[in-house]
């Protein structure tokens, strides 16, 4: 394993720019040694990672396969109703123990040599442990309890299940801080899954993670938003970070235009507001203020790989899983509430046209990530520049016209990576 040396060499050759968190060196987006270190320090480090919805594992024996970074994990509900998460890798020879995405099982069973685990991840039997006729078998001192699956710590908030490799990590609600308010607002009732969508992005996972933190690109890149007034910078909006700066959410209230001379001047130069673009059918723009707070869009991003969105009446989680420095998948899970009327379910499904892999609004995000990837090549020099709203972690305040949440991301990233 020459990874630490390679990584140290990298830092020596190309240290982090002196400007600090308002710059991110481009090598962090392509470098294999950096990717490996991220898996260790961030994904298997002291963070909470999205595992799924409680609604996806509703019954005793329910399970869902997932990944944290590139480590396969399984979320289970035990016979006593408790939630558990384990690494999906047999303690014997490393085979996958849960091969299906979603389902129900009595136990986790490795098909290779029949090692069987209970739904908490404890090894309950190993085939031919005593051998046959006194030959073969495992040593006398073999103890089942020493060979369970690797267990994660699990916690829930409002029907979302999170897991951590760090059993001493602070409680989930403390880790979320003020950004937990954005979850509690959006998910007040039990959830009902509507479906899944996976979008493959041939770019570094951080390119995508930066995107929903960047509240000011939306009205520039996404024509559909601006043209039809779903989200404009002139509307009432705010950006909220937790005190540690790990997470962020921002919201916009449609129909609250406040005129501003600078806005008018800039807006007229943006390609995103097209006055010649008219819809034949405007019904996609009808939304219901289901929370009664006027918020038409709320995007909430947790370090390092999770998004919860409300876009009109579309509700979804987005989770990044990684494959390599230049490939990741974005897993969209669409849902509503158990008590939704058929009309509301129908509206949520209709509003899915705005988001996801084919989203009239959100399709641009993956495209831009890949365009950045194209520009960087394999050994890029230089660094990105993030000084909208200021240069440090607090400047920019609650304005959406700010890269404050990006600076805070890179601050947290550097801390965890030891950069």
């Amino acid at each position: 394993m020459n990874q630490p040396t390679e990584f140290a060499q990298h830092l020596a050759n190309s240290p982090w720019p002196a400007e600090g968190p308002s710059r991110a060196p481009y090598w962090t987006f392509v470098d294999p040694a950096t990717y490996q270190r991220e898996q260790e320090k961030i994904f298997r480090g002291s963070n909470w990672h999205f595992l799924g919805l409680e609604a996806e594992v509703p019954d005793p024996g329910s399970y869902k396969s997932n990944r944290i970074g590139d480590t396969p994990v399984v979320l289970t509900r035990d016979h006593d109703g408790s939630l558990h998460a384990v690494v999906n890798r047999c303690a014997h020879r490393g085979n996958i123990v849960c091969r299906d995405e979603l389902g129900k099982a009595q136990s986790l069973y490795c098909v290779y040599h029949a090692w069987v685990y209970d739904l908490k991840g404890n090894l309950t039997s190993a085939a031919f442990r005593r051998g046959i006729r006194g030959e073969g078998g495992l040593p006398e001192d073999f103890k089942l309890e020493d060979h369970g699956l690797q267990k994660l710590r699990v916690a829930t908030i409002c029907g979302l299940v999170f897991g951590s490799f760090d059993h001493h990590i602070m409680p989930l609600e403390d880790w979320l801080g003020e950004v937990g308010d954005g979850i509690r607002r959006t998910l007040p009732r039990p959830l009902k899954v509507l479906g899944y969508d996976t979008q493959r992005i041939h770019a570094n996972w951080k390119n995508y993670h930066e995107n929903p933190r960047d509240s000011f690109h939306a009205n520039i890149l996404h024509t559909f938003f601006a043209t039809f007034g779903l989200s404009r910078q002139s509307q009432e909006s705010a950006m909220i970070l937790d005190s540690a700066g790990r997470h962020v959410y921002f919201y916009t209230k449609a129909g609250t235009e406040r005129p501003d001379e600078n806005f008018d001047k800039t807006q007229s130069t943006l390609r995103s507001k097209k006055s010649d673009f008219n819809l034949r059918d405007m019904s996609l723009l009808n939304w219901q203020d289901e929370y009664g707070d006027g918020i038409s869009i709320q995007i909430l991003t947790l370090f390092p790989s999770f998004v919860l969105h409300q876009i009109s009446n579309s509700l979804a989680t987005r989770q990044l899983v990684t494959y390599s420095p230049t490939m990741c998948d974005l897993h969209w899970t669409y849902f509503g509430f158990e008590d939704d009327t058929p009309e509301m379910t129908d509206r949520r499904l209709f509003h899915q046209n705005l988001v996801g892999s084919a989203g009239l609004v959100s399709m641009e995000d993956a495209s831009v990530c890949e365009m950045i990837r194209r520009s960087l090549g394999e050994s890029p020099e230089g660094a990105s520049f993030m000084q909208m709203g200021g240069k440090d972690l607090t400047s920019g305040g609650t304005s959406k016209l700010s890269e404050r949440a990006l600076r805070n991301f890179w601050h947290t990233y550097r801390g965890q990576m030891g950069l």
Binding site: L194, G195, D281, D329, A358, E364, S367
Partner: protein
Amino acid sequence: MNSSITLEARAAIENLNYEWARLIDENKIEAIGDLMTESADYKVASRFNVDRNLPSAVIHCRSRAQLLDRITAMRVANIYEKQCYRHVVSGVQVLGAASDFGANAWETRANYVVIRTMEHDGSMIVYSTGQYCDVVVFEGDAPKFARRHVVYDSRMIETVLVIPI
């Protein structure tokens, strides 16, 4: 199975499938609107969701107007890398009458493969494979899709789905 469909009608349904593919591949995408009824339902959903009875679809246009809006957005609003499709359509089958859609309405199936080519570097991939689950009705002699439900096989979409399948 209703076998009362004429050979001419069967050939017209097959041709309708090829026409749809040709118009998209030749970048005359707006013209697929002429192959649909006004109230046609165009949906693109993954086999993963369909197999689990999950209603979510990545595209669901509930009228011809909504699909044409999507094509307009693709032309003037959406940002994506320039690309084109080549459809290979095969196995066009008429399963029987679709009586819910009136007289002379047919439940049909076809398979497709879409190969996508990127303009900037010429890279090509098998972008999507799947099944068209359609209802074709006849407006006079002209066959039209009253329903075109695309069920794609992979649960994963490469980067973005912007050009209709």
